[in-house]
Symmetry: D2
Subunit: 350 residues, 4 copies
Amino acid sequence: MQFASDNTGPVHPRVMAALAEANEGYAAPYGADPLMDAVRARIRALFEAPEAAVHLVATGTAANALILGCLSQPWQTVFCARHAHIQEDECGAPEFYTGGAKLTLVDGAGGKMDPDALRATIGAEQSRGVHGVQRGPVSITQATEAGTVYSLDELHALTGVARDFGLPVHMDGARFANALVRLGCTPAEMTWKVGIDALSFGGTKNGLMGVEAVVLFDPEKAWEFELRRKRAAHLFSKHRYLSAQMHAYLADDLWLELAARANGAADRLAAALLGRGILPDHAVQANMLFAHWPRVIHQRLHAAGASYYLWSGTLDGDDPDAPLTARLVCDWSTPEDAIDGFAALFDSDA
Amino acid sequence: MQFASDNTGPVHPRVMAALAEANEGYAAPYGADPLMDAVRARIRALFEAPEAAVHLVATGTAANALILGCLSQPWQTVFCARHAHIQEDECGAPEFYTGGAKLTLVDGAGGKMDPDALRATIGAEQSRGVHGVQRGPVSITQATEAGTVYSLDELHALTGVARDFGLPVHMDGARFANALVRLGCTPAEMTWKVGIDALSFGGTKNGLMGVEAVVLFDPEKAWEFELRRKRAAHLFSKHRYLSAQMHAYLADDLWLELAARANGAADRLAAALLGRGILPDHAVQANMLFAHWPRVIHQRLHAAGASYYLWSGTLDGDDPDAPLTARLVCDWSTPEDAIDGFAALFDSDA
Amino acid sequence: MQFASDNTGPVHPRVMAALAEANEGYAAPYGADPLMDAVRARIRALFEAPEAAVHLVATGTAANALILGCLSQPWQTVFCARHAHIQEDECGAPEFYTGGAKLTLVDGAGGKMDPDALRATIGAEQSRGVHGVQRGPVSITQATEAGTVYSLDELHALTGVARDFGLPVHMDGARFANALVRLGCTPAEMTWKVGIDALSFGGTKNGLMGVEAVVLFDPEKAWEFELRRKRAAHLFSKHRYLSAQMHAYLADDLWLELAARANGAADRLAAALLGRGILPDHAVQANMLFAHWPRVIHQRLHAAGASYYLWSGTLDGDDPDAPLTARLVCDWSTPEDAIDGFAALFDSDA
Amino acid sequence: MQFASDNTGPVHPRVMAALAEANEGYAAPYGADPLMDAVRARIRALFEAPEAAVHLVATGTAANALILGCLSQPWQTVFCARHAHIQEDECGAPEFYTGGAKLTLVDGAGGKMDPDALRATIGAEQSRGVHGVQRGPVSITQATEAGTVYSLDELHALTGVARDFGLPVHMDGARFANALVRLGCTPAEMTWKVGIDALSFGGTKNGLMGVEAVVLFDPEKAWEFELRRKRAAHLFSKHRYLSAQMHAYLADDLWLELAARANGAADRLAAALLGRGILPDHAVQANMLFAHWPRVIHQRLHAAGASYYLWSGTLDGDDPDAPLTARLVCDWSTPEDAIDGFAALFDSDA
C-alpha cells in the first residue's frame, strides 16, 4: 500500500535490460554516444519537430531550472501556478539557475493557472518601468501538482495570454506522459502546436531510473543550453546510460503503457474511495489524488501499513476529528490488490 | 586501443548486478533509502571518521562545485593548480556554485602545486584590504590531471600552508582510488589525517555509472550542503540507484581492485613505450600518461584505430615532424592486448 | 504644486554648506575620512548603541539589498509586506544581492504586515524540508509605502513572531525620520529595543543629496558588509562627501526638523482635502497620502500644474468618472501655498 | 606632499558651483532631469556618436562591472591586463555583476596587454569545447594602472585581435582624460574609431565628487544597462546632482584642463626625480609614476610628511636598504611647491 510518490517504485525491467545492453565496450562520452543520436531522432519524430534541440539530464528540477535559465533574464519574473513544483519543491533552483529571477504566482482552481488570472497578473507586473522586475516566461505544469490535466483548449488560452505579451512558454512535463494519455492527443498537439516553446519531458516518475529530456522546439538556444548544463554539473560523462534509459522508454511506446497503467491505478483508487463515499478534492486525471478524512482514520491507515504523504495537517495532534488532506500517488508498478486492500481499510469491519 | 578517457569504458559487472538487486520493491527517495545508511556507515568506517557527513551526487563537477560553495564566500578566491579540472574543465561551475568566487592559479611541476608557490600566491592575495578578493580554500587534486600523485609529505606541506593562513582544504579525488593504491596508505592518511577538510570521492572514472561521494570531515556544513545540492538540482529522487553503485564499489574492496588494474595498465603502457624509447612527460603514477611524438606518427596511430586525445596540437597541420602531446588514459577494463598492440604500432615494421 | 515624490525637491542649504566646507584640502578615501569617524560616533550615540557598525551608501536600495545579503542565505526567503519597496521598486536588487533568495509576501491593512499573517506565512514556509526554500529574515518598512507608521506595539508584535522562529529583522527606514517624529520616541526605542537587528537609515528622501546609513546593531557582520559593499561597487572613493551630508543631517537635529516639516505638510494637505470631503485611503502618519477622485478631476488638476503619480489607473481613458488613486508626497521644502493652492483646485469655482 | 591617490583631493570649485546651481526647485528623478539631456547631447557630440547610449553612475567600479555584465555571459571569461583594476581592486565586482564570469590575465610590459600575448591567450581559451569557459570581452585600461598610455596603434592592435575572435571591447577609462590629453587625439579616435564598443568615462579621479559616464557606442543594450543599473542599486533618485557634475566637467573643456594639470604635475615630479638620478619604472604618460628607493629613504620621506602608497614592500622591515616601490599620484590640485618640496627631500642636505 505504497502511495507516497511516483519516485519510490522500481525501474521498469525493460529499462534495466537496456542499461545492461548499453554496458558493452567503449562509448563516446558527454552525449556523443550513438544511442543519443537515436534518442534525438526518436524524440524529434515523436514530436514532429525535426529541428528541435534535444538534451538529457538526470533530474526534473535540472530540466526545469536549465530551461528557465535559457528563457529568462535575472531581472525578470516567471509566471507559474501558486503551488507549482518550481515554486515549492526545488529549494530555489529556478532562482539559482536564472541568476535571481522572481517567481510570480498565478491563482486558479484545481492546481491550474486561470487564463484571466494570468492575464491580470502579467498585466500588473512591469507597470513600474525600470523600478520593477520585468515580465518573463510562463511556466505551465502538465499534469499539474494537483493531479489534474489541462485540456488543449485550456493550454491554448494560457499560451495565448503569453503570446499577447510576447513571453515564451515552458511546460514542466514531469508527468507529461500521464497527461498525454489522458488527453489522447499527440505530443505535438500538447506542446508546440499549442504554443509551448520548451519542454521538460519527464521519465523519472514514469519508470526510469533518473532521466528527463529537455526539448527546445526553437533550437536557437541549444548551445547556450549545453553550456548552462555543463556549468551546472549536469553533463554526464558516461552519458550512454542516460541515453539507454530514454531509448528504452520510447521504444514500443513503453512510456505510454506505463503512464496508462499509473493513471488506471489512480482511477481504480478513486473509484474505490468514491464507493466508500470519499470524493477527491480535484478531478483525478493523472496518477494521483488528494482526499481528506479525519486524523483518527489517517492514524489507522498508517498503522495498517499504508504509506502516503499528508498534504495538510500532521498525524499527531489533539483533535482526532480534524480533517487532514492526503496525497495518494500511483505509478506503473502499483498493484491492484494494494489499491483494493487500501480501500478496504475504510470499511467498517476493517 | 581505447585510451581517450576513463569515462568511455563500461560499468563493472558487479555494479550492474547491484543496480539490478536494488531494483526490488519500494524504497524511500532522496537519500532516505536503507542502502544509503549502509554506504554512509561504510565510508565513515573506511575513513575512520565516525562523524563525517557523507552525501552522493552523480558527477565529479557537482561534488567539487558544491564543496567549494560550502567552503567559500563569493568574495574569496580558491587556490588551485594551473591546470586543475575546476579551472579548465568545468565551464565555470565553481564560479557558478560559489556565487562568483575567483580561482587563483598556483604553479608547480608535474601538474602539482608547489608549496612555496602556494605560500607566495596566497601571501600576495588579500594584500589590498577591502579592495581585493579575500583568501579562500585551497583545492588539491589527487591524483593530478597530469597523472602524478602527491606523496603524503607533499600533501602535508600544502595543507600546512593553508593552515598557516587559516584556509580550509578541498581534495578533488576524482581519481582518489588511483592515488591511494599508488601510495599504499589508508584513506584517512591521505585525507583528514593530513589536513583535508572535504573530499570529492570519485567513483565514475573507476567503474561506476555516475556516482561520487562528498565527504565532509567536519559535519558542521552538512545541512547547508544538502540545501545547496537540492537547489542545484543534484538531489536524486530515486536515490537508491546511486547508493547501490557506491555500495558495490566499496564492497570487497572492488574500488581498490579496479584502480590497481587501471594503474597497472598505465604502467604496462609506459613500460612498453619506454621500450620504444618514448619517455612520458611526467612520472606515471596513476592511470594515465602524457607523451609526445611527431604528427605523422599520430596520424598513423589514429589511422590504425588508436583512440586518444591530443593535449597540444592537432592532427591536421603542415608540419609532419611537429611534436604533439598525447594523453593516454587507462581504466579497469583496458585489455592488455590493446596496450601491447598499441605499443607495437611504434615498431618499425608496424 | 509638486507632490510627485520626496526625491524631486532640493537638498537642504545646510547640507550644501557642509559639502562646500568638506571640500577643503586632502582627505583619506573609502570611509577613512575624519568626518566619518564623527558620523559613526554620532549615530552610535543617537541610537544608544556603542557597538553598532555604521556604514554609508548612496541609495536606499543599496542599503536594503546589502543588509538583506548579510542576513540571508541564497536558499532562504525574506518576509515582507505585499507592496514593500524591496518587492516592487528595486528591480530585483534583493534577489541579486542575496544570490537568489525569494521574497514571500505578507498581507495586512494599511500597507503593514499583520502579525498573525506573518506568523501564518512563516509557519507555512519550510514545511517541506530540503525541498522548499528556508525561512530567512523579516523586513519591516517604517514608515510604510502607504504612508502609515507602525506603533511600537505593532513593531514589537512583528519582531516577536520573527524571534519565535529565530529569524533576524531588517527595518527599511527610507522614511525613518518621518516615522520617528510621528511616534515621538527615541531611535533606540524604534529599533534595537524593539528587536530590529539591522537598519537602513534613510537620508535621501529627507533633504540629503544621496546618503543612507546602514546600522548593524550586532557588528558581527561588519566586515562582511564592507566586502559586500565594495564588491557591489558602493564604496565611494571620495567618501568625505557622503560623510559630510550625514554629518550635517544629524547636526542640531536637522533631520528631525525636516521630517517634521514634511509630515506637517502632509497633515495640512490631508486636512485641506478633508475639508473638501476627500478622505485619504489610509491614516496619514508620515509625509504622503493616497486618495481617489474621478479621472476628470485628475485631468483638471494636472492641467492646472499639479504634479503627482497615479497609483492606479491612467489619466487617459474612456470613463471620466472612473475613480483613480493618487499618491501625494510632501517633503521638507513643500510650500504651504502649494498645498493650499492645490486644495483650492477642488473648489467649485476653481 | 599628498601623492596617495587621485581620490584624496578636493572637487573643483566649478563643479561645486554647478551643484549649488542645480539645487534650485524641483527636478524629475532617476535620470529624467533636464541636465541629463544636456549631458547626453554633449557626450554624443564630443564623441561624434549621435546614437550612443549615455548613462551616469557614481563609481568607476560600477561603470566597469555594469558594462562587463552587458558584454559577457556568465560562462565566459574577460581578457584583461594582469594588474587591471577589475582584477585587483574591485573585490570581485566583475564576477558579481556578470553572474560569475572569469577573468583571464594577459601579460605585457608597462602595465599594458601585449597584442601577441592577447592573441595567444584568447587562442588558448575555448579550446575545450563545452568543458571550458568561453571567450568573452576584452577590457583595456586607458590610461593603465602603471601610468602608461596606449598609443592609437597599440589600441588598434588589441582591438584587432578582439575583432578577429568576434569579441567586444570595453575600455576602462577611469583616467580617460589623462590619456586623451597625452595622445592629443579626439575622444572618437581613442574609442569607437579604434574599435572600442563600450566606455567607462571617468570623472571622479579628475575633479568630480563621484560621477562616471557609461557610453555604449552601440545602443542596443541600453535598456538592459538601465535594468542592470537599477537592479544593482546604482540608479540615483536625485540624479540631477550626478548630471550637474558631469555637465560642469565637460563645460569649457574643464575636464581636459584638469587632466592636463594632473599630467603636468606628474611630469614635473618625474623631472625633479630624474634630476636626482631616480628613473621611474615606466614611462610617465598620465598622472602618476612608480619608482623605487631604499626603505630608509621611504621612512625619511614619510616622516617628513610625504604621503604615498608603497606598491611593494612595507615601511617596517629589517633591511634599511631594501628597494621598495612607491606609487606617486598627482591630480589637478597638486601644488607645484609640494612637488618641488618632495623632490628636495632627496637632496643630501634634506
